[in-house]
């Protein structure tokens, strides 16, 4: 319960402090190219290929996992600077 309250406190604090920032719901359109739609379609095709060829699907999952890790590290670096691992 203490941990939950701590989590809720931290997230509420961060949500409140940065609430002036806009919320991103989709990727931007650059030079007429809707990056969000194109990336969604491309990933959908890769997922489609993955349903037929499982090594591609597993590689894709691994790449997604690694990119998630990189984003988390970027966020950490943004807030912690040189103290980030």
């Amino acid at each position: 319960m203490i941990w939950t309250y701590l989590f809720v406190f931290v997230s509420s604090f961060l949500n409140g402090v940065f609430s002036f920032l806009p919320t991103v719901t989709s990727l931007p359109t650059i030079f007429g190219i809707d990056l969000d739609a194109q990336l969604t379609g491309a990933v959908g095709v890769l997922n489609d290929i993955g349903t037929y060829y499982w090594p591609i699907r597993d590689l894709f999952i691994a790449v997604g996992f690694f990119l998630t890790y990189k984003v988390l590290m970027l966020v950490l670096k943004l807030f912690l600077g040189s103290r980030a691992p």
Binding site: T4, S11, V24, L27, V45
Partner: protein, 467 residues
Amino acid sequence: MRKHAWKLSVLAGIISFALPALASASVLFTWPSYSGGSASINTDGTYNLTGVSDIILENDQSGSTSGGGGIDGTFPYDNLNNTLYANYGATTTSGWVCFTVSGAGGSPCGTDPTWRVYWSGSVSGYASSSLPGFKISTTTIASSTPTHTEIVSVTPVNGSTIATSTTATIGAIVWVDPNQWTQDLSNNLGPYTLTIQVIPATAAQVAAVPSAVQSLYPKYTFTVENAGYSYFSTTTDASDPGTYQMQTEFTKSQTWYGQIFNFLSFGTVSGGNILDATSTSFNANRSLIGTLLSASTTAMIQQLFASSTASFATLSNECIPGLGFDIGGCFALIFIPDTNALGAWLSLFKNQFLSYAPWGYATRFITILTTSATSSSPVISLTFPVGSYGHTTDTNTFSINMDSSMQAGSALLNGVTSTWNGNTQNIQQILEGPIDTIIGITLLIYIAMDIMGTFDKERRRPKEKLR
């Protein structure tokens, strides 16, 4: 005083929590009323017999459990089940039990004026009476005497649940028919042997344990050296939560031909020396905090987060003395996070904080990458002119439906099968495990190297020459 009130409340809660546990491990000794005058009883009442394995009756006051010309009767006491196993006859005096003990000197039911009850084990003590007899609360005495040599009971009882422990108590009560005992001793088939083996059910099915698995776990052996009841106990490792199979075997020595058969590996032929055998099971569960640490979720905590009203009621019951106080549950409620609540918080954190610009673009990018939705692959078409260049307007078009092609290719690939050890498997079933393992290990190594800064030239430590 007011600021210390909560400490007193907690202390009272602990006491109210602990007292029933202490009382459950005690046995009541009382002495029969004596109409001739006031009773002279040294230590009468309820005794905590935790750790006691035997109760010894003797009709002298020598302070010893043997000798002195008195009657020595030893009866096993199962303190876990709070049961005394004793041969006793009818209740001959109002409300008190007359024990039948072998040896000279008479009976507790007789007129011998002084009696002592000793108990031994990891703790010892005695109570004595100058009255002709005594009684032990009949609720603590086995209800009947067996009629043949057998394993009377085992500890833990079949199907029971104990707390995980590296020193879990296991034991068994056996009863030996005095006539059979005498006969077997004269035929050199004694003393008897009791063996207990505890095997985790994860290592074998409860119904049948292969001998190769049996040899991996210790087998505790006890020697039965007297007729009547005998109680044996020891400790074993049951630290992993789960089901344990407990095999208890009661045997007598083998005959000479049985030993020869056994030497020739015809063990099943010479199995006539088994007096009794049981196969029981018990469950080992972690304590409340341990369970919560492993599963990190219980209905109680889920209820706590599901409804503030129910949460407060649950918290009250767990943390306030007098309302089902449980110190473990109270601490667990306070300190251990719930998986569902944690997941809900992470989801909220992702949907709000991580979605703010500019890092929200990275989050959106990852969200798209990790989606499982599929899109139909495009149909690739190629149109080209038919005939001589510059002299024709006819065209022809080739279309490749990637979905159909990949589906056919996948079917062809998975149609290649191989049979090994009676199992027919396709390429995916054979190779998916190893390939996934390679991908997973590569990913972990790559992330580890990234964290250690192997790819960062600025953070890479300069190489030093070995001197």
